[in-house]
Symmetry: C2
């Protein structure tokens, strides 16, 4: 199955020029052929091509089906974007493939990168969602400072993955049926103060294993650990 | 701790120009300062700078310590290099960070990429080893066809991760204390014939979860699954 994305809520809609070209020239689809779309909100839309056009292919939705999420948990990862943006983008793609619900880019006192291109990140998430045949696009929240994030209340399990010597529990041994929020720090780790605030806010310090992991690898290790525990 | 690599077995050796420049100009190390090296074979070599030179820094080994491997298992992944080489290189870096012992690039009938640059791949493994403070470099075997690989005998657990409908066991539920070999196919999956030969050779078909994963993501998911089971 090949999956396309649409944000249209209409019964008839037109693909953008890039998709129109792909559908007509690469996939060689013609009038009457069917395409599968998702809205990233859990729906599979089966549509029929009404007008096959290299720039403006138009389709009609003929069936709409609600799909259940592939994973059973609800995982929110708040992670510091890496200095090298490729690494953060790789995290987005792999986290979406493995199964994540919400991502918040956080700015910490040791962060070297303080801005990200949200449009580009959302395109990566959309692409990973389609490629891995998922119907739910992870929510990418606005970038926020760790202090502001920690001012909010969160329901569920709350963990912080830091590299400092401290009493830690192993994420793989935790119950994760509920909502889970995991904080992953920047290349220079969280500051002592940031860790202290998180602990005060009832976040538990976790270990992700015996290796020293890069930020984006720690993020993926956290997602996969939750994923295989379901 | 910062870790350097050397393949020297001498008590005195000279760093290459790139490392010499890094040590003298970036780290501002001087005569008498100490540096930590690994040979990638499990040894930590503590060395003292005898000659601090921007192109030819020379050190003397003053202590050698055998380090035990950070992970307790022995994992060999035979994986088809991806069409986009970046993706395969990501796999190498992340697999090394998480913990792997041996990697064999395999060529399958659906492989789009049939050659890799072994030198470049080994440099990526060395760099990931140093960065994650490991003392054992994963072994990168020569690229080999899946047919030839399957002609060999392997001791330990043998698994094949393919995407076709079949009876599969979940990797996360398997015992992995012994040596483990996992086969990961190319973007177009293993062929029916390749799967049949593997099954005949007593490989068990495994599932890595509910998501459709890209080749390199499947590789990382397999490594991390073994890693968190130890």
């Amino acid at each position: 199955m090949q999956l396309f994305y649409t944000n249209s809520t209409e019964n008839y809609f037109t693909l953008n020029p890039e998709e129109s070209k792909h559908v007509t020239k690469v996939l060689r689809k013609k009038k009457g052929d069917r395409l599968n779309f998702t809205d990233g909100k859990g729906n599979l839309l089966m549509a029929e091509i009404l007008i096959s056009d290299i720039r403006k292919t138009t389709v009609e939705v003929i069936k709409k089906e609600k799909k259940i999420k592939q994973h059973k948990y609800y995982l929110h990862v708040a992670i510091a974007p890496t200095k090298n943006m490729d690494r953060f983008e790789w995290f987005l793609e792999k986290a979406c493939e493995l199964g994540i619900d919400e991502i918040t880019p956080i700015i910490c006192s040791h962060s070297e990168r303080k801005i990200i291109k949200a449009d580009r990140c959302n395109r990566i998430l959309l692409s990973a969602m389609k490629q891995s045949l998922k119907f739910h696009k992870p929510k990418l929240n606005n970038t926020i400072s760790i202090e502001n994030l920690l001012r909010n209340d969160f329901q569920g399990n709350k963990y912080i993955a830091h590299c400092k010597e401290a009493e830690k529990i192993e994420l793989k041994n935790q119950k994760t049926e509920n909502r889970t929020l995991i904080l992953i720090g920047p290349e220079g780790d969280f500051s002592d103060n940031e860790i202290a605030i998180a602990i005060e806010k009832k976040f538990k310090a976790i270990s992700l294993g015996t290796s020293r992991l890069r930020t984006e690898t720690a993020g993926i290790a956290a997602v996969h650990t939750i994923n295989i525990k379901q």
